[in-house]
């Protein structure tokens, strides 16, 4: 089984024709070949927007979501293979191009974000594949000249049950594509493939260098560009610098210049050496961590809040509490730091624009190209490649627009790459936050008052200054909590800092889970109760939450006394439709480090389509959250960003990697996402363990801000 990736023009053209069909279930048959002709011509025949079948009876699935490591090409292909009645080794998958047919039904736009691909596509994609299967049965019955009712689909063939005659899908797909699609195709009730850890379609190519990421795209006559932004955020190019020796062009991009050469290494070094005269507005000086921090403190005390949630009379309940906490938590800006730096390849002519990019939204790339070139969407082709990580950064359009502008300027195919220093210093950062929790328990240890105030820049507000609704991306994880509080008020105060902020894996949950789960732990300690028992008590009646917490506790040996010098912490989150709980065990606290031994993670995502990949996503989410919790932070000095590279943005490496155990709790509840839910619980679980181990509560992330140096290899 192979993943196939086409980046050639003829393929893009045929895909575009498919797209013009419209809605996700429309059957757009464009090639007009019978199966045998198709086999002879060596081409595959589309049946619907998502499926192509070759004459050799291979099934290629066009995957609408973008593969950035989460295994979605495999997960969505599993859904298709299940309903199409084909065996897994016959399945290949490739990334679908831009098109409305590929819009995630949850959003109505083609966007891989929000841990939503399985949730969005589970039923629509199965229905599309079942539709194709029913059309194949109709065509197969006709080809075999038997009544339709005597036929079944299995193993990539239509079989006549009584006579054992059969015809392969590849032989009849041309006819099948012309069959009127049935409106209510039956869905499979007993799964062969869904729920199985089938091997991923993309992994073999990721072991021999043949997997093509955006940065690997090569076109005949291609030029190579590197960008250099103004070192101060907000600055713009005062005058286009002269072309240095060895460069092919220097292109003014407004807030950056691109140096074009015939090799990325040359373009990179010329861009680094290039002297540019920048215009820096006075407002850039306001982009300063010290100013932002003091403003946050002021808003925490006096800001005008938006109310996310209110119930009961929390102020009087707080006054009457037997024990109280009054805790302020602080979180830094964070960088995405995808392993593959931002890059995009573009070719623009008078009547076409072609883009190759590691993108979380091919459709947004079309909109960007449309705006810059004036071309209609049918003249714009987007070829999504593998992403070397996305993490919420790669649906942004800054790097796409730059590549298009440079391609327009030099009138040649151009691959534009951001040097790593540009990637760190021109991110759309995870917002900083300060959160204050005033809460109290009664004499029985029941939470009776919970007043929560989060001060943080608004991602949505920054993108839409006229927004009046509360930013739910900021409040997620702070309201509608699973815990039973006697009374509560959850407030959000927008911090006006103009540092560009964006969506970082788990978004608002990455902030609020730290504050909520730390505060819950502090309340448990204040009430003199076991942190697990305290949580269970406040989740009484919530069977799924109790099951997940108990599973993590059992997996993490919560009730077994840890060896001397070790301690455990626990946390819980309800995010992206999934429930997750983690138990972490740590030891050896010093002023500069701790040892994180193991993490036990339980996840209830309703049902795991591919359990091995759910495990991988938990391992990945925990690792991402752990690096951020220990060392991650981005700071600003009068608009100048630190750090500039991985040598000052430390991440966990092999020696620090804890042993992670994952248990999937298949509750059969509604489907939840898995890309992000592993991230939020790890930071509070460690803070909670640390408090048990040392008696000291860490309320400010990262734990070891002075240890962010990462040595070279």
């Amino acid at each position: 089984m192979n993943n196939t990736q086409h980046t050639d023009e003829s393929f893009a053209a045929s895909r575009r024709d498919v797209l013009l069909g419209g809605s996700s279930l429309v059957i757009a048959f464009t090639l007009g070949l019978s199966g045998r002709e198709a086999a002879a011509a060596g081409v595959s025949t589309p049946i619907g927007a998502f499926i192509e079948i070759t004459g050799a009876n291979k099934v290629n699935v066009l995957v609408a979501s973008n593969e950035m490591g989460q295994g979605i090409m495999t997960g969505l292909a599993q859904l298709v293979a299940e309903e199409l009645m084909v065996d897994w080794p016959a399945v290949t998958a490739q990334q679908a191009p831009a098109g409305w047919a590929y819009a995630n039904p949850l959003f109505g736009i083609q966007l891989t974000a929000g841990s939503s691909s399985i949730r969005g596509w589970f039923t629509p994609l199965r229905t599309a594949a079942a539709t194709a299967r029913e059309m194949l049965i109709t065509a197969g019955a006709a080809a075999l000249n038997v009544p339709r009712s005597s036929c079944v689909a299995a193993h990539g063939k239509i079989h006549v049950v009584a006579t054992k005659r059969s015809v392969t899908y590849g032989q009849i797909v041309g006819d099948a594509a012309k069959v009127p699609p049935p409106s209510n195709p039956p869905l499979v009730s007993k799964f062969r493939l869904i729920g199985k850890s089938v091997p991923r379609v993309d992994i073999p190519a990721k072991t021999d260098g043949s997997a093509i990421y955006g940065i690997d795209v090569r076109l005949p006559g291609m030029l190579y560009a590197c960008v250099k932004h103004c070192p101060t955020l907000g600055g713009t190019v005062a005058s286009t610098p002269a072309k240095p020796a060895g460069a092919i062009a220097v292109v003014n991009l407004g807030n950056a210049v691109a140096v074009v050469a015939n090799n990325t290494g040359v373009a990179k070094s010329l861009s680094e050496e290039l002297s540019v005269h920048w215009t820096i507005p006075a407002t850039s000086a306001q982009l300063d961590s010290a100013l932002i921090q003091s403003k946050a403190l002021q808003l925490l005390a006096n800001g005008t809040p938006q109310i996310a949630e209110q119930f009961g009379t929390p102020d009087s309940a707080l006054a009457n509490s037997a024990a109280r906490i009054d805790s302020t938590y602080s979180l830094p800006y964070l960088a995405h730091a995808c392993m593959e730096p931002l890059n995009c390849t573009a070719v623009v002519t008078a009547n076409s624009c072609k883009i190759w990019a590691p993108t979380q939204s091919p459709m947004l790339c079309v909109f960007t190209a449309q705006a810059l070139t004036g071309l209609s969407p049918d003249k714009i082709t987007v070829n999504p490649t593998f992403l070397g990580g996305g993490l919420g950064r790669k649906f942004e359009q800054d790097y796409i627009a730059q590549a298009i502008k440079v391609a327009q300027a030099v009138k040649a195919p151009v691959k534009l790459t951001w040097p790593r220093e540009q990637d760190f210093t021109n991110d759309q950062y995870r917002p900083m936050a300060m959160v204050k929790v005033d809460a109290g328990v009664d004499s029985s240890g029941q939470i009776k008052a919970w007043i929560y105030r989060n001060v943080s820049p608004s991602i949505l507000g920054q993108r839409n200054p006229n927004m009046t609704d509360i930013d739910t991306q900021a409040t997620e994880g702070s309201d509608k909590l699973a815990y039973n509080f006697g009374s509560r008020r959850v407030e959000y105060v927008i911090h006006p800092a103009a540092v560009p902020v964006g969506f970082w894996r788990s978004v608002g949950h990455s902030i609020n889970c730290f504050a909520v789960e730390s505060a819950i732990d502090e309340l448990a300690l204040a009430a003199g109760q076991d942190p697990l028992a305290f949580r269970l008590k406040h989740l009484a009646g919530n069977a799924r939450a109790l099951a997940v917490l108990n599973a993590a506790a059992a997996l993490g040996n919560w009730t077994v006394t840890p060896v001397a010098g070790h301690a455990r912490g626990i946390s819980f989150s309800d995010a992206f439709g999934s429930l997750a709980a983690q138990v972490v065990e740590i030891s050896a606290p010093t002023a500069t480090s701790i040892k994180v031994h193991n993490v036990a993670c339980a996840i209830d995502c309703g049902m795991a389509v591919n359990p091995d990949q759910v495990e991988a996503q938990m391992q990945g989410g925990i690792l991402h959250g752990l690096s951020a919790a220990l060392w991650g932070q981005v700071t600003f000095a009068k608009g100048v960003v630190s750090p500039r590279n991985f040598n000052r943005y430390r991440v966990v490496r092999l020696p620090e990697m804890p042993q992670i155990k994952v248990q999937i709790v298949n509750s059969g509840g509604p489907l939840g996402g898995v890309g992000e839910p592993g991230v939020p619980p790890i930071a509070p679980a460690i803070a909670n363990a640390y408090a048990r181990l040392t008696g000291k509560r860490i309320r400010s992330l990262p734990f070891f801000p002075a240890q962010s140096v990462m040595s070279d290899g």
Binding site: M68, G69, Q70, P199, D202, I203, P204, K206, T207, D208, G209, S210, A211, Y213, I215, D216, R218, Y224, N263, T264, G265, V266, K268, S269, A337, C338, M339, E340, P341, F386, L387, G388, G389, G390, T417, P419, R420, D612, Q613, A616, Q619, G620, L623, H624, S627, N645, F646, N647, V651, V652, R653, L654, P655, M657, Q659, I660, M710, S711, D712, G713
Partner: protein, 147 residues
């Protein structure tokens, strides 16, 4: 022109002598399996084997490797048959996969020098993965070592 040997083939390279080997491999020779991650020898995405040693190719100038024999991920095996590649597929190691060429080359150099590495030996691989595949990488190296 500077001559280098890559995966057993000789190449006369036209890139300027100070060009990092990484970009010669990727842009001049079209061997894009070797990745750019940081450019400062920290992340290891660009790891290749030079005369038997794992080296970061992002800060190794072309002129420094004149006449040397270099193995990239494309040359690890002709058909994904290296024990590490088999273990990587068997244990489903990669997620985004971007760091994995470098990881595999670092692991291949380790196994060449130390056919039965301990966990502490494996910890000597300083390459970065931000997807969290370290646990599977460690297991896959042990599995490949067992043969």
């Amino acid at each position: 022109m500077i001559s280098i040997t890559v995966n057993g083939k000789n190449y006369d390279c036209a890139s300027p002598p100070t060009t990092p080997l990484l970009w010669v491999l990727r842009d001049e020779l079209g061997l894009t399996g070797t990745k750019y991650g940081c450019g400062i020898e920290v992340c290891g995405a660009c790891t290749v084997i030079v005369n038997g040693e794992a080296e970061r190719s992002c800060d190794l100038e072309l002129k420094e490797v004149a006449g040397r024999s270099i193995t990239t991920i494309e040359g690890l095996s002709p058909d994904r048959s290296h024990p590490l590649q088999k273990a990587w597929i068997d244990l489903q190691v990669p997620q985004c996969g971007y760091c994995q060429s470098g990881m595999l080359m670092a692991a291949a150099a380790l196994l060449k020098q130390n056919p039965n590495p301990t966990d502490a030996d494996i910890n000597g691989i300083s390459n970065v993965c931000v997807c969290g595949t370290y646990q599977r990488i460690r297991a896959a190296i042990h599995q490949a070592a067992k043969g």
